[in-house]
């Protein structure tokens, strides 16, 4: 109910009605009074002149035979049709015409008021001076037709007033509709914006300048909203990206720390282990020398020596992992020949159903600082992992070599850029939980006796010792890609020729 009254239309109608309720009666009263006065004037003026005329005639009548003359006059007056009744009062006697009239109201005094005294007679008295005294002429005129005219006029005024009120209400309805329709559209537009649909333009057509202005302001607001919305979206995107980057960095840091801890431990164990292995190896070999080659003891000692040598190789792996690099072997070397050399070796052991290819991009000779044999080891280890991941099926193993400006993890920039080596295969791929541990020493997914579980941790150790980074992407059932990024050594000389793409087939 409250809502109904609060609408623009109801308000406007209420205002119109209230105004009219107050003004229309006043207006009606005023107009009807003026109309009535006018009609009375029109009625009274001629009858006054007429009665004066009759009174003059009566005054001029001869004294002799006055009664006869008076009767004739009264008859003529009555016959004129304007007068309802007429009489002359002469002292105690009353003279009347011979024509029959309505009975004269005796008790009435002069009635100069229109429609007064409940009848429709307008009574005029004239005192006429006569030589023998004065007589009173009384004439009664019919007010009926004039009264009827006044009533008709009043009805017309009332009808006009009612029409005026009705038209006012109609106009107010129309006006309110003209205002409220665009208002409703604007409200709908605002609701759309509130729902988050800010893309649609607000366009409400109206001839009312306030509505146009409101439309303009709403459209401006929407425009601002779209802008700030976009800024917000961009900001949120950036925040999410930086959060992801932070998490990634954190994860890497944690991983690096774990590797470093394991490396420290491995380095310590290796030192003790090497000291223990030395007498085993030396005593076995010394004892072996004192035996004949085919003796039972010699065979046993040979076994001990072989086992000790295997143990030594294992420890060497651990040491490589814990970054025990022989500093004197580090040098600036060209990467491509090292990789090609390793691939030549691999082709001898990799099954024929696995296709190995190598592509080096760019014309520059890509060089890094480190031990070439260690990079050799990296390639061997990675490719071994790859082809073992493809067994027994056929597959593809491809290496690409190129250079990039920045390290993928955004670590400190290297002036000469970075050398990027990628080793990809179409093998089984790895689960994320496996991927997390692949650089841990002794972590292996292979059967016991097949691998030491040092392959990737050694690769990690070598790459890290060369100041590089390693990243592995893997999808189960699709394959694995290892990306190694090594800081490039300053180019001593550019060869200046376009080397082009080289395929090692």
């Amino acid at each position: 109910m409250g809502r109904l009254i609060n609408t623009l239309r109801a308000r406007m109608i209420a205002v119109v009605l209230a105004t009219h309720a107050a003004l229309v009666p006043l207006l009606y009263l005023g107009v009807s009074t003026i109309v009535q006065e006018g009609y009375i004037e029109l009625f009274v003026n001629p009858i006054r002149s007429y009665s004066r005329l009759v009174a003059d005639e009566l005054e001029n009548a001869s004294a002799a035979d006055f009664d006869h003359h008076a009767a004739e006059l009264l008859d003529s007056v009555l016959l004129s049709g304007q007068v309802q009744f007429a009489q002359i009062v002469d002292g105690p006697r009353t003279l009347q015409g011979t024509v029959a009239t309505a009975p004269f109201p005796d008790n009435r005094s002069d009635d100069f008021r229109f429609g007064d005294q409940g009848d429709s007679v307008y009574l005029i008295s004239h005192t006429v001076k006569r030589p023998g005294g004065s007589v009173v002429l009384r004439l009664g005129f019919d007010e009926g037709p004039t009264l009827q005219r006044v009533q008709t006029a009043k009805r017309r005024v009332l009808a006009a007033m009612l029409i005026f009120t009705a038209v006012s209400i109609a106009v107010s309805i129309w006006l309110s509709a003209m205002i409220s329709r665009p208002m409703r559209r604007l409200r709908e537009a605002a609701q759309r914006i509130a729902r988050g649909d800010v893309q649609a333009r607000i366009q409400v057509h109206s001839s009312i300048s306030e509505v146009q202005e409101l439309n303009h302001h709403l459209e401006h607001m929407r425009h601002e909203l779209v802008g700030s919305n976009e800024r917000l979206m961009t900001e949120m995107g950036e925040r999410a990206a930086s959060e992801a980057k932070r998490l990634d960095l954190e994860r890497r840091l944690l991983h690096r720390e774990r590797i470093a801890t394991i490396g420290t431990l491995a380095g310590g164990v290796a030192h003790e282990f090497n000291n223990i292995m030395t007498p085993i190896l030396l005593y076995s070999q010394a004892a072996l020398r004192e035996q004949t080659a085919d003796s039972r003891l010699a065979r046993d000692l040979t076994r001990i020596v072989a086992a000790a040598q295997r143990a030594r190789n294992l420890v060497q792996g651990i040491l490589t992992f814990s970054r025990e690099m022989d500093a004197k072997r580090a040098e600036v070397f060209s990467v491509r020949p090292t990789i090609e050399e390793a691939l030549d070796l691999l082709r001898a052991i990799v099954p024929a159903n696995i296709d190995i290819s190598f592509q080096a991009a760019g014309w520059r000779e890509l060089r890094v600082f480190g031990d070439p044999s260690l990079l050799h080891q990296v390639v061997i280890n990675l490719c071994t992992n790859s082809y073992q991941a493809m067994r027994p099926n056929a597959g593809r193993l491809w290496l690409t070599l190129g250079s990039v400006e920045e390290a993928p993890d955004g670590s400190a920039a290297n002036e000469a850029g970075y050398v990027l080596l990628e080793v990809s295969d179409t093998g089984h791929g790895m689960e994320p939980q496996v991927l997390e541990h692949i650089f841990d020493p002794f972590f292996t997914t292979r059967d016991v006796g097949e691998g030491t579980g040092l392959g990737l941790s050694v690769v990690h150790g070598i790459v890290t010792s060369m100041g590089g980074t390693i990243a592995v992407d893997s999808t189960v059932g699709v394959g694995t890609r290892v990306r190694i990024c090594l800081p490039a050594a300053q180019q001593a000389v550019s060869r200046g020729v376009v080397d082009g793409m080289h395929s090692g087939g």
Partner: protein
């Protein structure tokens, strides 16, 4: 007969080396520290000194430097298991190229523990021939 001094804090290692060298016909003395080694050097002058690098108190590098300055004629074979002894301080975790350092200080031969008997013998014989 060539005389050889072996210095290693690990008695087992020192004695194993002694066993191998004596089998090959050398006269061998083993000491478990640099101080004892230097004491021995006051009484005798060996042809070759085989010394470990990582040792408590005085390490192999100091010993090699002393030998080079005081006994320039003695040939030196440095041996090391590398690694980072657990007892070492954290800053020592960083790679130490012990043997490279030994070579730089003047050792003629370097061997990584555990080495094969033949490697040790050929290193010693090479130095005795020169």
């Amino acid at each position: 007969m060539a005389c050889i001094l072996v210095v290693d804090d690990e008695i087992e290692v020192g004695e194993a080396i002694q066993r191998v060298l004596e089998q090959a016909g050398f006269l061998v003395t083993v000491t478990s520290g640099v101080a004892e080694g230097l004491k021995f050097l006051e009484t005798a002058t060996p042809d070759v000194v085989v010394t470990d690098m990582i040792m408590p108190k005085v390490n192999g590098l100091e010993f090699i430097k002393t030998l080079r300055s005081r006994f320039p004629k003695i040939r030196i074979v440095a041996i090391s298991g590398g690694g980072n002894p657990i007892s070492y301080k954290p800053e020592a975790v960083v790679t130490h190229a012990y043997l490279a350092a030994a070579r730089a200080a003047g050792a003629e031969e370097v061997l990584t523990k555990p080495f094969d008997m033949d490697d040790l013998l050929s290193a010693v014989r090479r130095q005795l021939l020169n």
